[in-house]
Symmetry: C2
């Protein structure tokens, strides 16, 4: 039973990662193991009452992914040695496998609607196979950055990421920013230019920024680049419209 | 072992469907069971040398899905009673879980690239949970229709289909048409207007048509409607560019 749960949690993979021989000259791998060690100290879902945060690092994250994660994580709020909080410009957003479940009254609503429903980007149990990502948001600058690693089950053209998987991440990241700034929203338009095919396994940055607001409309711009920002994969604009919950469920009648 | 394979194939669900009591007045259910019976007579993957065709009906397809499938299937080539072939305007396209594997030389190529890679829309073993769809193409009219049933693991807003999952199907269907008409292509642009939120479990039609061709560029239009075509969910345009295989793998260097 515990073994089964451990497999579900990917603990075996995490522990396997901790047991890997560590070359001192490989600072990337050190960084990767540092983040894995950090999560092994945390209370583990489902043994805690906390829902699982899918944006926590795991052993399938490549050294490149961990390096970028560490970079932005260091720019978030941190606890200093004397126990004080040091403010940072960035904030890491948690990510669950259902948007409604953890909102006010969400548990009851999610039971009413579809108990088996899961967020599209977090529906897969096998870590590393599909969407591995974490979103950092900068409220003052009204922008966010997502670090995304594309798993092997996201294939479109042979060896490359499906255009729909890239569109999914663009919708997710731009929508996260719009929702963070303005509350409940729905996607009204996505306009995506695919500049260069993205190989499976790539680690990319999805930069998203608020362009303008017109009443209930929010215009967001988006760029997908390589982790070192030297290569442009995709550019997009997104339009979101603020909605009430009534609007959403009115559509079901 | 056989039981395990049967579960993988969803045979238990199919057989459960065959044993359901059938009301004679319910023509929709009759239609559904007709298609399920049809596939139970076919050679079953992995016992045959044929790859599994994911666009074959299964027991998770709703009566509404089966009804539309039967409608278009009846307009495809059929064998008449005297053994002749009767030509139909539509053709049902098969759908595998890897685009490269079954192309010329594809088996070797797929081994060279990523053996574990799977097509994004066909990466899930559990039938009915994500993308259930089948594409019918009309070569003469340069258009195609996809019947798509949105599973419970495609959630975005609570109870509704993720915008990225809709974008994925639009990319898939418009790309299938472009590829069918012109050979290897890559998505260059998707411009998607989301008109109305789509409840999870919906069966929709994705209508796609060639708008124009300019040298290597193919412009495709797309509409996503309810199965009875009374409700418009999404409108889109897509631009594809013809490529050579060299182009794709040149990007990896």
């Amino acid at each position: 039973m515990l073994g089964h749960l451990a497999r579900r949690l990917g603990l075996q993979q995490i522990r396997a990662g901790l047991n890997q021989p560590l070359s001192e000259s490989d600072t990337r791998l050190q960084s990767s193991l540092h983040t894995i060690r950090t999560i092994s100290m945390m209370p583990l879902w489902p043994f805690s009452s906390q829902p699982r945060d899918f944006s926590q690092p795991n052993s399938t994250w490549s050294p490149e992914m961990c390096k970028v994660y560490d970079h932005y994580n260091a720019l978030c709020d941190t606890d200093t040695e004397n126990g004080e909080k040091k403010r940072g410009p960035w904030r890491k957003l948690p990510s669950y496998n259902r948007s409604i479940k953890y909102a006010t009254g969400g548990i009851h609503l999610s039971k009413m609607i579809k108990a088996k429903a899961r967020l599209f980007t977090r529906n897969f149990k096998e870590q590393g196979a599909t969407f591995e990502y974490v979103v950092f948001v900068n409220k003052e600058e009204k922008r966010c950055v997502c670090v995304f690693q594309a798993g092997h089950l996201l294939e479109g053209a042979p060896g490359h990421v499906h255009g729909g998987a890239i569109a999914t991440m663009i919708d997710t990241v731009t929508g996260t920013l719009a929702g963070f700034l303005s509350g409940p929203i729905m996607t009204a338009n996505l306009n995506i230019d695919y500049r260069s095919p993205m190989p499976l396994g790539s680690v990319v940055l999805i930069h998203s920024a608020l362009d303008q607001i017109e009443r209930k409309k929010q215009y967001i711009t988006c760029k997908v680049t390589s982790a070192d920002e030297s290569k442009l994969y995709t550019e997009a604009t997104a339009l979101f419209v603020s909605i009430s919950v009534d609007h959403l469920f009115g559509s079901r009648n």
